[in-house]
Every structure is written in C-alpha cells, then in structure tokens.
Symmetry: C2
Subunit: 322 residues, 2 copies
C-alpha cells in the first residue's frame, strides 16, 4: 500500500489515525493508491494494533436527550479536551439498544458513555471486551460499573426545603415521565422533605418533560386545588417554564406574589429575562469532565466501578425567592 502510493508506511498510517496530520498531497496519493488496489482503510486493523480508536460512543435517547443539548455539548467538549471524538448513537426506542451495543463493540471504541439505562447483560457485553462503560445520570444495577450522576434526591430535598423555608405549606407537583429515574429521584426528594415537615396538602400531575406538558399539567392541577398560594414544583425546567407561563398568562396569577414556581436542571432558558426561574442546577461541566476522566483512566489503568456523585446547586430566581 505504502509502496503503491509512493509514500512511507507511517504516512499511510497517519492518513487513518484520528488527530494525526497528513498533507493533502500525501492523502491524495494514498487515496488513489487505495482505489487502484481496491483497498479500503480498515479501521479495525488500525485500532487492533494501536488499541485506540480515539472515539467514545455516547448513547442517548432522541426524545429526551436531544431536547437537552447542554449535557451533550459539555460531554463533547470534555472528551475533545482529552483528545477524543464522540460518536453519538441516538436511539428512538429502547429495543434498539442491543443492536447499538453490538455496533459499539465491533467498532472498538475507547469507551461508552450511556445516557440511557443499560442492562447488566449489555454492560457485560462491553466490559468483558475491554470497552469501558460510564453510566451518566443512571445508577448501576448489580454489576460493578463506573457512573457519574448528580445527586438528584438531594436536589429535591434542597428545593423542598427552600420552599418550606419560604413559608409554603401547599404544593402542586408536576412529575416527569414514568421511565425517567432522574425525575422520580428528584420528586421523591421533594416528597420526603415535605413529609418530614408534616405537609400533606399536595396535588400531583404528570408531564412528559416538555413545555406544553407543563402547561397542560398546570390546568389539571387547577381543577383540584386553588393555585393561588400554592407552590408549583416541576420535575424539570422545561415543564416548570410551561407551568410558569400558564400561571401568569392562563390564570393571571402574579409570580411570586400569588404563586411560586420552581424546576430542576438549570437550562439556559431559566436565566432568560422573561423567566429567571428558581431551579437546582446540575454541575454539567464537572460531570462531563468526570466522565471523560473515567474513560481516560480506564483506558490506561483498568479501574472499574468508581461512582462519582455531584451535588446540585440551588439557584434562587425571581419565581421563588427567599
């Protein structure tokens, strides 16, 4: 191949190594030689020799994760700082995960960051073949596996306590989709704190994490409680923004004077001047850096099963001040 192209073997290699540089002239020679020989660059051969593809697979659910691009951006930046590129597998349905795991395995990536739940079998299929897995905002099952999460239960407690401290005793909770462990951990944290304070005046509804579902849930809650004087807590910021708008424009309630509203995540829109939402922010940059560091350490040393959990940060905005 190198002979056919009239270049050195290392020049050929550089053409197919992520991050390595090759001049356009060399690249052209190699491509033309490859074409003459009917040769295709074999990513597998390269990665088997170097044991590094430079790629980290990120598995996300299209619906929930792509609507929340901050986490992906931070992961991409953190992995890129450690010299890796992401290969994102966006799945529409959970039953695609098996096929994706097989693909990931066969491409011999440096590691996998999973923003969806993996079974112990799926994790095993990767880990047993030296593909390190880091669960992102998902807690491990029985199998030892590394994970990075925000302490969502504590975030819920933090927000519940903030609202109790503000004198609120009547609550309306907007839960997230049933499949979301993050949403249920958050709301369990809120519920625990309210129960410990003896608060029982609680109405509940459920949304799908989207803005519109926050609007609809707020209308539903209003049929069962007087929203005036009630603190509304949604399982994520998007639904909280919908609830806030519906309280203001649908029910003509003054926020925070007649009702207060709060959410979770700390997405960009919570800081927009129309909103200034009280929320609990996930330390996304730290979490992403931790995930990237865990992949890098695993590639070099082989430590498995580290769990890193980061606290959330209460951000007091105008919608639920002190």
């Amino acid at each position: 191949m190198a002979r056919a192209a009239g270049v050195s073997q290392s020049a050929v290699s550089r053409c197919f190594t992520p991050g390595a540089s090759a001049s356009p002239a060399v690249r052209k020679k190699v491509v033309e030689a490859a074409k003459r020989l009917g040769y295709r660059p074999n990513a597998m051969a390269r990665t088997i020799i170097t044991r590094r593809s430079g790629l980290v697979a990120i598995v996300v659910a299209v619906d929930t994760n792509l609507q929340y691009p901050e986490a992906l951006s931070e992961l991409s930046r953190a992995l890129s700082r450690s010299g890796r590129r992401i290969m994102l597998f966006a799945i529409d349905a959970m039953d695609e995960i098996d096929a994706v795991v097989d693909q990931i395995w066969s491409y011999q990536v440096d590691g996998v960051v999973a923003l969806v739940s993996l079974t112990d079998t799926q994790i095993g299929l990767l880990e047993d073949h030296d593909v390190p897995v880091v669960l992102y905002n998902r807690l491990p099952g029985k199998r030892l596996v590394s994970s990075v999460t925000c302490d969502h239960a504590m975030c819920g407690q933090l927000l519940g306590q903030h609202l109790l401290d503000g004198g609120h005793r009547r609550f309306a909770l907007i839960h997230g989709p049933a499949f979301s462990s993050v949403a249920s951990e958050r709301m369990a944290g809120v519920a625990t704190t309210l129960a410990a304070a003896g608060v029982t005046d609680i109405v509940e509804a459920r949304g799908d994490y989207g803005y519109d579902s926050g609007v609809v849930a707020t209308r539903e809650l209003a049929t069962r409680a007087n929203l005036r004087g009630t603190a509304i807590v949604a399982a994520n910021d998007m639904m909280a923004l919908g609830a806030l708008d519906e309280a203001r424009f649908g029910f003509k309630l003054g926020v925070p004077h007649e009702t207060v509203v709060a959410g979770f995540d700390g997405i960009g829109a919570t800081r927009w001047q129309s909103y200034d939402l009280t929320t609990v922010r996930q330390p996304l940059q730290r979490m992403a850096e931790a995930a990237a560091a865990m992949i890098a350490e695993r590639v070099n040393s082989g430590l498995v099963g580290e769990r890193r959990m980061f606290p959330g940060e209460l951000v007091v905005g105008a919608t639920a001040p002190d």
Copy 2:
C-alpha cells in the same frame, strides 16, 4: 465461529447486523465463543459483504448545531424510519473535518449528512469511494453534490416584506456570526427587500447566535438609534428572544406597540406564551425526510447532485403582527 458457538452461521450474522434480531441466549453463545477464539466482530468484513452498514454519519459543529437540537432530532427520526441509525460526529473546530472524513470513509457508512461546510476535496474523498454526501443547509461549491436547504434568502425577503407591509421604515438588524452562510443569506434577503423599497434608515450589529448576544446587540443598537418605532430583525430566533427581552425589560418598550421584533428558525421557544415571536420557520421535518430519501436513493440508484430547496413559512406572532 458458528461451530464454536454451536449456532448457525446466519445466527452469528444476525448478532452483528444492525436491526436484525438475535435472542439473548444466541447472543450469549456467540459472545462466549468469540471470547474463547479471541475473535472480535469485524464490522468492516460484514459491511464489505453486505455493502450496508445501516449507519449514516452526521457531521455537526458542537457550538452551533447542538444548541439547535430540532434539526438533529428530525434527521434522526427520518433516518430511523428508513431503517438507518445515525452516527454523529460532533466537531469543535473546522480543522478536525479532515480526520473525521477519513474515519467516516473507513467505517463505510451508507452516507453522510453534513451540517458543516465541506471542501470539494473532502466531498471527493467520500463520493469517489461510493459514500453519498448530502449537504444540509449548505450550498455546493464547484463539485456536483446533493443538497437539502431552506431558501434562506427568500425567508429574509418574506420577513422584510411583512415588516414593510406593517408600515415599518426604520430597521435595526442583528447579524449572525461571520462564518454562518445561513445567517448571511437571511440578512441579505432582508437587506435586498428593504433596499428595493428605498429604506435606508438601518442600524446594524452582530451577535454569535446566542440569547445573550441578542441582549448585548440590542444595547449596542440603542446607542445608535431610538429603538422606539424601530423594527428589530435578528438572524436567528435565539438572538431575537434576547432582543425582545432586552427591549421589554431593559428599555421598557411595549412590544409590538412601541417596537417590533422578529427572527428566523421557528424554534420551540418562539411559541412559548412569554414570547409568541414572529419568525420564519424552516420546514425541518420535510428537509430531514428529503435528506434521508436522498441517502436511500443514492444507495439504491446512484443519482448524484440533486438539489432540493424548501421555502420557509412566515409565522406571524404577537411581537410583529400585521
């Protein structure tokens, strides 16, 4: 391999074929046999035989595209409907594109949808090796290549004419980042329409596509023109939302009575009750379906160089009504 696993050859094959089903029991046998044999599934060998990897590479820029997840979601959905899965390459800097093109080539994907600008050389490297390329919202250079775009110049004209029809004669334009061809096509469309109507009372500023830059640009524009009675047009919705909030909360202007604001894209937040922004919506679903169809047709027939351009749709919101 099939013999070692005690299963049929087709069962082994199904384990490594995207979309094909294999029972957990079969999968387990195959994995264990592979382990014993020191064998790794060779994605290349499979794809060389079938000429289909089932993967479509999408190349995006982290900063601009991940902040605008609607296009990615629609692309993922459309490709998944045609039985393909996306492999997303998120790049931080344009000089990474060469390395990404090599990787894409070596993984022998079914096609590439590029949301970043590719050089003719980069396109050639892919197309010359039977990897179909579809440019998304990027116009081709000299080389024949398929593309799907929104007609951004016409979108600009549409919005400019709407504002002229509303009686506006003084304009403040917030341009997008200099590297964005989409932003410059939009604003050129606006400028052409204003010039044709003899409007010369125009002040201009530039943002980076983000909300905060819309706020800052509005403050800058206010130093050079009285925003009262001026129509503010931003090159995308995010900056328009920043401009709208700053006009309302920073300059205490009534919208639309004292000033009007409009943008481009049609992102979800424009329909939130706090905003109801006048904008020109890109037909993202149609564009994504067209891109997926072009990849599928190319895999089957080999037609190169089709250009599909879709009109945008004026969405008249409360911030710049008739």
